[in-house]
Structure formats: C-alpha cells, structure tokens
Amino acid sequence: MQKWRATRRLLLNSYSSKSRFDHPRSNPISDHSTTISRSSSGFESWTSRIHYRHFATAMIQRNPLFSTLNSDDINYFKGILGEKNVIEDEDTLLFANTDWMRKYKGSSKLLLQPRTTQEVSEVLKYCNSRRLAVVPQGGNTGVVGGSVPVFDEVIINVGSMKQVISFDKVSGVLVCEAGCILENLVSFLDNQGFIMPLDLGAKGSCQIGGNVSTNAGGLRLVRYGSLHGTVLGIEAVLANGDVLDMLGTLRKDNTGYDLKHLFIGSEGSLGIVTKVSILTPPKLSSVNLAFLACKDYSSCQKLLFEAKRRLGEILSAFEFLDNESLNLALNHLEGVRNPLPPAMHNFYVLIETTGSDETYDKEKLEAFLLRSMEGGLISDGVIAQDINQASSFWRIREGVPEALMKAGAVYKYDLSLPVETMYNLVAEMRTKLGNSAKVIGFGHLGDGNLHLNISTPQYDDAILAQIEPFVYEWTSKHRGSISAEHGLGLMKANMIFYSKSRETVQLMASIKKLMDPNGILNPYKVLPHSIVSYS
C-alpha cells in the first residue's frame, strides 16, 4: 500500500498534496472545492484553488437498495483478509476516494486489499449477499471518474496481487496477477528481452488489471494492436463470488463465446479481474525517435499516410500535439525544453520506429524524414541520438496530461474520429470559447484518437455548458466515438447513446443484469442510469 501510494505520489510529481474537501453530504460528487498546495520547500510554491462543480451527470441518487456498512461487515472482512488489509484510515481513504484529476470524490469508509483470488471471491460473495456496493480500483489513474466511489461504495484494490505467475520465453506469453503495476511488468520483461504491447504515461501507477478493465490504448497501439488482440486470457471474479477461469495462453481458441472480451473495457462493471495472460512481443534492439514540426494539420495527416507506407514494418508510434500543448508542457513541467527552438511551429509529431537492424532502420527513417522535409511535409525536426534524448521527447508528449493538471481545471475528451476531420473540432471549440479557455489537441494520430482538452483556471458551469453536449454531438455527427480509450466511467455513462444504438445498449444492460443482478459492481458507471433498473 505504501508503495502504491508512493508511486502514485510520484506520478503527481511529488506534490505534498493536502486536499481539503468541503461539500454537502447529500451530494458528494457535486460542488466541492479543494485547495491543492505544493510543498513550499520546492523551487516554487503555488497554491491554486479549484472549485469543482460536478460535470456530465445530473444529480444521481444513491441506490436505496444498497446497504450501508456496519461493524459486523467490517469484522467479517477482517476475518477474511486480516486486520491489515481492511483499511479505515482517513488519509488513505481520502486518497482512494479521489480520482487522479481531483475531479471526482466519493465518501467510502472502507478500502479492502485482498491478496488472492479466493479472498476476492469471498469478499464479493459477502458484498453481494449483503447488497453492499463495491468499486474495483487499480492504480486509480483513470480519467473518467470510474475508479472512485460515487457514494459510500467499498473500494476493492487488488494491488497486493502483484506476482508474475509464469513467462514463456518461446511464445512470449506472460501470466500475472491483476495488481502488477505496468512499469514493473515492463522491467520484468526487459530482463527477459521482451516488452509489454502497451505503454502509457501512467505506467508508473496503473495496474494491468486496470489497463485490461479500461481496454487502455496508449502509445504503441498503432504497432501492437488493442488489448482485445493481445490479452489471451483472464481470470475474473463475478459479483456472486464465482471465479471464471478463462486464463488461457493460446493464441487461437474458438470454443464458444469468447467471454474474456466482456471484461476487457467493461471498467469493473461485470467482475473483478484477478489474473491476466498477455502476449508480449520481443524487445527489438533498434529504437529510433524523431520529434518533428509541421506547419499545418494537413501536413501531419499526409505525413501519417506516408509513414505507414514507407516505414511500414518498423513504425511503432505516431503521436501528435499542437503548439498549445507544447507550450503547456514547457510552462508546467520541470526540466522540459523545446527540442526545436527558437521558433514555435503549429504542430509537432513524434515518430518512433522499432526494428531489429540499427543501421538499416536509422537510414530508412532518415531517408524518409529528409524526403518529407524536401516535400514540405515537415518544417523542422530532430532525431534522438541517445536514449536520454528520446526520453526527453517522450516526456513532452506523455507529460501533457500532467501539465494540464498543473495549469488548473481541465475538461477532458477522448475521441475517436476520422483523421481528416479530427482537428476541425479543436478549431471550432477555440472559436466557440474565445479567450475564456485554452483549447488544446494532442493524441494518438496513428489511431485516429484525439485528446481534446480544455483548460481553465477553475471549473465553471458556464464553460461546461458551451462544451457539452456540443463535443458529443459533433463526434456523433462525424460517426466517431465519445470514448476512444479512457472508457465511460461516471463522466460519460449517460452519453453512451452518442456512440451506440439503443438496441446495443439494451443488450449491454441485459448482460449486466445477468452477471450482476444486484448491480453492486461499480454502480452508476458505464451504462446510462435510465436503463439500469434495480429491483
């Protein structure tokens, strides 16, 4: 636990974050304010006061059918898990109740840390029989309010389940417990000469169980595909305590419905993932990274088109950010410098290649870039000459979410859109909001995934009203998805219809009902409140 906190603190860039929440009991997620102060022993000391007002969902009522926790419950849990793993400590709970963006806050009084699948099963079985609602929590880095309680749900964190169970060097199949932190798996595999097929900015804190539950995309999806392809098996515990052993390690297995896919991306609403088996690619020795400038969005697009053809087999990431994003990173992250000074360009692209032949790959990349520069697609660029330089380029792209957090309040949208029209939304949003907010666009261009972020000094309902439902309508009109990779969580549970038909959502609700009849697993999230009825 301490370690888990420590790593998360690290991610928050060593704030000593003392947050004070004052909010009316009856409506825990709306309308509260917090003071975040950074330790004054640092270089700068700042205090920002962000008033947060709840977004996206109208008033939610606590489901009256859920029980409230009593001392018998706590004693029962202590009997299963031992004193130490039943946590009622206020500081720890404050942390577990608050999401990464400090935007959503629940008021859970209990955090449980099971150490085995059996313990998860016993805990869930009890909660189900008592109708105690639970929220599965991993590294708590989710950005849609899915990982924290809405009211008093019991938080279950499998962070203590962090063993690697097996690794097969021939097939590259890794089997591990769900609480393994992504970065630890990366280090483990590095020693074996393999890599994880996914990589994301939150790797120091997020757990593989959380990644699977959100179907996290990240920086390498363009090369290795989504977790629906790389996850080969899952062990999960259902609401009634039943353990589903689907922990296969086979690449091909067409025996009936492939139910593991239900747990990939269902955000803890169908079960708790306890083990994962995942196909990992070998680590190739030659990795190159270029940080490039483009004069307009259309050049970025053409560059992507060309890169897919000319770098094909070695292309491993294609990311973009606009100049507002770079500015934020330069202004808010320590030690970050502009790789292409002194001019500011309109757009920046990171192209990473991964291959097996250093000389060949480098020549290929250089030839491609020089050609693109002559053709006017690139206006300037640098190629990392060592790993340190590569890390500092990645730090810029990966650090944008963190920079946004430091800049104040942020409204985040994670959209899948056709690449051609993607950036028009950013431009339209800028026109709409004028000087009242900073609108930035960055993301996984290679996957057609835009992270539209709107940054303001503090949360403001008037701004929100200008953004929503506009963003969702726009996305729907262009047949995009309102959640490319972050999930729906609490933030977008009611917005699902912008991307899915009524019939589809109805079937989802039936599946939910079948697997979790009492609705105790991560209530109020993922599915629209109107459709999930409780009885």
Binding site: P339, E358, L370, V382, I383, Q385, D386, I387, N388
Partner: protein, 251 residues
C-alpha cells in the same frame, strides 16, 4: 584556431549494464551504443566557441571499432566540421588513447583539445590529464565554465572543486576536460543530419600514427556489484534503537 574534440562510443547511459556470463567484460551485443555524455558536452562547447567566432574549425575524433563512425556521424550532425576515426580493434586504455591524440595533435595542430572528464563505461578519468602531460600543454580539468581570450591566447576555466569553484587561467594551446554542468548539448536537427552526410571522416590506423597499442594492465575479472539486501520495517522507535545498538553496532 582549430578545436579538436574527443568523442567516445559507449554503451548508452540509460541501458542497464549486464556482465557477460564468463566474466570477461560486459555485454555489448545488441546493446544500444551512444556518444559518451561528457563528450557530447565537450563537442557542444567547441561548437559554441566556434559560433562565437573564436575558432574556425571543429574536428571530432573517435577511436575504436568501425561502428565509431556512427558516433562521429552524430558529432557531425551536431555541427562538427569534419571527423577522424582511428580504427582500432581490441581494448584501448587511456595511455594508448592519449598517445594517439598526441600524434593527431601533431598532425592537425589544434589550438585547443577538449575531452570529456571521463567516459561512462570505464570511468577512468585519465585521458585528458595524460595527453596534456605528453604534449606538455596546460590543462583545465572538470570545467564548468570556459572563457577564451583570442587576443591574448588565454583560456579561463572554472572548475568545480570540493567546497567551491577554482578559476584557472592558462595559455593556449591547452587541454580542457568537461564537467556535467558546462552546457546543455544541442539536438541533431534534420538539416544538420543531411549536411553531415557529405562531411569527411578520415581514417587512420595506430600504425600510421606510429603508436603501438599495448597495455600494462590485465583485466582479471569483471563482476556485478553485490546486490543490495532488502530492508526491514521496524515497528517502533525502540526497536529501531535496539537494532542500531545491538545489530548494526552504530550507536
């Protein structure tokens, strides 16, 4: 004035070093190699001196196997005007490198020789001092600031020493070795990478430079440092004091 800069190819700073199972050295197969960070700083300093109009040419020099050319290309892409590769297989120890530099200095006649204070692979921190000794040139090692006076042909070098800064003033030609805080090296831009492709890399062998590569050192064994033991969490201050007294015997 011409500036000569030493550029060493080493295992990348960020790579985790693995000792070969037979303990004869460290694994370099399929391992990312890059320019020694202190050499990058040395090259950056040379380029800044040239850009300030105090030098006319920067020559990067690397010694070792054929792949050193890749490292030299990086140096040329950063802005060096041309490069020299001394093609030598087998281990090169600081004294041999210093002798090779002496020979090159006699050929090229630079007014300033800049090296990193050490290479991050063997951490010798000897080459700069040795070559200054062999040439009979003054040396400013561990430089954190370098100021040249073109008229008087002087170099003023700040060096970080225990408890403060020491400022040395020396006549040119001189040898300077660079510390970490001297500057922040530039990146290799695409236009410069393109230009570097047509720059010349001249090759010499140690024989051509009349240097015999030998060493009085013999490596017996390379081993990993002992693994750090896991710590223990004590449950009370009393227990801590007890352990410090009776187990660690430090109080």
């Amino acid at each position: 004035m011409k500036i000569m800069v030493a550029v060493k190819r080493v295992i990348d700073y960020a790579v985790k070093i693995r000792v070969k199972p037979d303990k004869t050295g460290v694994e370099t197969q399929n391992v990312k190699m890059s320019m020694n960070p202190f050499c990058e700083i040395a090259l950056e300093e040379a380029l800044r001196i040239k850009e300030a109009g105090m030098a006319s040419e920067v020559v990067a020099v690397s010694m070792g196997p054929a792949q050193c050319v890749d490292t030299l290309r990086t140096g040329l892409a950063m802005g060096a005007d041309r490069a020299i590769h001394v093609d030598a297989t087998g281990p090169l120890y600081p004294l041999s490198v210093a002798k090779l530099f002496k020979a090159l200095v006699e050929l090229e006649k630079p007014g300033l020789l800049i090296l990193g204070k050490q290479a991050i692979d063997d951490d010798c921190n000897q080459t700069g001092q040795m070559v200054a000794g062999l040439l009979g040139w003054p040396q400013g090692t561990f430089a954190s600031k370098v100021v040249l006076d073109k008229e008087k042909q002087l170099a003023t070098v700040d060096r970080e020493v225990d408890g403060g800064l020491e400022t040395l003033c020396m006549d040119l030609p001189a040898v300077i070795t660079t510390d970490l805080r001297l500057n922040q090296p530039r990146y290799a831009t695409l236009p410069n990478i393109m230009k570097a492709k047509s720059k010349v890399i001249k090759k010499y062998t140690p024989q051509e430079l009349n240097v015999e590569i030998k060493s009085d050192l013999e490596v017996l064994q390379v081993t990993e440092p002992p693994k750090r033991k896991a710590g223990v969490i004590v449950s009370s201050v009393d227990e801590l004091i007890d352990k410090l007294k009776n187990e660690a015997h430090v109080i």
